[in-house]
């Protein structure tokens, strides 16, 4: 009997894998319910990426709808997302702030020189502590914060033109209308 059992090992391993994949089908890697939705944005105060002597904090978000984008130079998906942010910035429809997450200052600055800088300003979060407060799982992630500093939406994974058109911009317009 143990002889037979030995040859069943690959099958058992595969069935375990199949179980995992089955579970995976019901999960959406891009969707995580954020406990922070409709809560005030966690307070933070970090140096700015380009001007280390100036502080960026959530006080800067007050009074306007803000798109807060978490990114890093080591993140492949951020690279593919970047042109979308550039286009969005050109339209001027929403103020884009960035959280440069677990990155190196020089590398991040060079990235912005090279690919363009869609951000009004970036907070430089070298050890990722602010990212933890904001519940960042991975890059890129994008939050929408309203005029009162309340988080209204979180998008996980790279933004695409479709997502910006169908989800982000309508929400921004709606938020601007409600308290405009």
């Amino acid at each position: 009997m143990p002889r037979f059992v030995r040859y069943l090992t690959p099958l058992v391993a595969f069935l375990a894998l199949a179980g995992l994949l089955f579970k995976g089908l019901s999960l959406d890697p891009r969707k995580v319910p954020s406990p922070l939705i409709d809560k005030p944005a966690p307070a933070f105060s970090l140096t700015r990426l380009k001007e280390p002597e100036v502080v960026l904090s959530n006080a800067d978000f007050k009074g306007k709808v803000t798109l807060f984008n978490v990114w890093a130079t080591w993140c492949v998906a951020c690279r593919s997302e970047h042109p979308v942010l550039m286009q969005l910035a050109r339209t001027g429809k929403v103020a884009i702030y960035g959280l440069n997450y677990k990155d190196e200052r020089e590398a991040a600055k060079q990235w912005l020189v090279r690919f363009g800088d869609p951000y009004v300003a970036n907070a430089f979060d070298a050890d990722g502590r602010v990212g933890i407060d904001w519940g960042v799982y991975g890059t890129p992630e994008t939050f929408i914060v309203d005029q009162q500093g309340v988080i209204r939406h979180k998008h996980i994974g790279p933004l695409t033109q479709e997502i910006v058109r169908d989800e982000i911009l309508p929400l921004v317009q709606q938020l601007e209308a409600t308290s405009g």
Partner: protein
Amino acid sequence: MIPELGQYALILALCMAIIQAIVPLVGTFNRTPGWVALARPVAWGQFFFLLIAFAVLTHAFLVNDFSVLYVAQHGNTQLPVMYKISAVWGAHEGSLLLWVLILGAWTLAVSLLARNLPAEVMARVLSVMGMISIGFLLFLLLTSNPFARVFPVPAEGGDLNPLLQDFGLAIHPPMLYMGYVGLSVAFAFAIAALISGKLDAAWARWSRPWTLVAWVFLTIGIALGSWWAYYELGWGGWWFWDPVENASFMPWLAATALIHSLAVTEKRGAFKRWTVLLALTCFSLSLLGTFLVRSGVLTSVHAFASDPARGMFILLFLLVVIGGSLLLYAVRAPHIPRGGGFGALSRESLLLGNNVLLIVTTALVLLGTLAPLVYDAFGWGKISVGFPWFNTMFVTFMPLLIILMGAGPLTRWKHNDPAALAKRLKIALLISITAGVIIALPFSTGSVSAGIAVALSTWLASTLVSGLRQRLKNKPGIGGFINDLSGRGGRSYYGMWLAHIGIAVFVIGVTFVTQFDVEKDARMTPGQSIELSGYRFRFEGVNNVPGPNYRSQFGTVRVFKGDEEVALLNPEKRTYLVQTKPMTEAGINAGFMRDIYVSLGEPLGGGDWSLRLYYKPFVRWIWLGCIFIAAGGLLAASDPRYRNPLRHRREAAVTPAGAASAIRSNA
């Protein structure tokens, strides 16, 4: 009307596949020669209808038939003809159709080329391939119909993703699929052998050339993808450990293990169970790759339209195919006789080491790829596994593999005296350590990694040269070499030789470009020059140039070495008119020893641009190595001993009776 013909053709192909899967197999059980003989003509019929379906979809793209939903989504009147054709496999439905067509083509190839196969074996193999085809055709017809119509008919199509409008990426999927699907042949041979219970040297010999060819295509496909990423993404990288890349790399690693263990099974009758399990694993991994890419369980930069219904279908299919085959394995494996024994130091034991290392690596890649899913499934949060993890793993295991790779071909089958082997390897060891130390010394490169890489590559090269000298000792001159190359077993050896040299070249390329590449970001004004690694880059400015279906910001950079102009580079930023997606096209001057690479950043006003300049030493060696590896595989697959049973019998006639009958059963 024509698109409906495509759909009918698919349904007819499905009918053919069902007959192909059932009738010949039943024929082998109830010994009905007519049913057994049906396998080949039905396979041809299936291929014929698949070809019609594929031609119909291609035609729809060429004539801009936007009443077909798939064409309306991915076609466009402005698309150049070449990309209208490649758009056929530019998204989920069409690429699946290509997949099935290629499966049909492999089936056709087996039915036509494997002429020395006994009719019953042929029937079983084609039947298994028919079963796989049923699964994919059902998938296509039930969840992903490429011929679905749309009404009202749009006036213009949504266009092919601009990323895919590129020569490298037009031919990358067909090559890759040839590899993925080609592994189904080894799988079918393994299942056929398990069904019949005859896992012998003959089975290994029949499987070897097919496995090699599939592996060659997989190699080419992966290399093309990496080359594309290098010149198209505009940031000089060539491999990203993206889940989709891993999905192609895992079957490659497993297939590399398989071609080595098949050699042991054929030559020595050992590793039978292991080899058959590997053959099942290889194709299972390519099916798993399909699942990962198309079900949406992992995020990737290669986003296929994902759909849980499709994911569920593939998962069920995986359960039937992989689960079924592993169950068959569990039932049959205890009855497989043990193969020939071998000593602790023998070519078998070194090849076993090779297999273990390759499979451990495959498992680690699988683990890294699935880790985000595991974390998510158990509610531990979300993670992404990046470069550092995969790179550390590779840097740990590859040197061991290369050390074995050098020693293996010089080691005897069955048993090798350690002292004798040490004597044979002594000089190679000495040369490679010396070479490595020289490279690592401060006055040459000062890089320990480069030293190790050079030592490993020299080790491979010097052991290969030593083996070649040994082999040609009694075959003097160029004539001796040509005789050896054209004789039985010759091309297998020289194929191995070439592929292993390819690894040496690849290792140098990877290490040197990682260690010594130089890059610089700069703001440049037209006319300004910048020095980098002994080259002077002069930025001439950017013009707006219209392309066939895009607008281009066309940069010009002249590169000088001293006063001599060595390159005129044109990095571009293209905006495709339909999807308005910006794309970068790097300007590259390729060279044997280095690439000069420029990509265009953003306009900074007043004609100034941000530019990224790279000097990439030895980067071509990465793909040169891949070409050697693929060429070696092809050479080995073309060995006459796989095709020439006649001559083989004549040889057998002069050997002692026992051996002769053993060999005859192999032919």
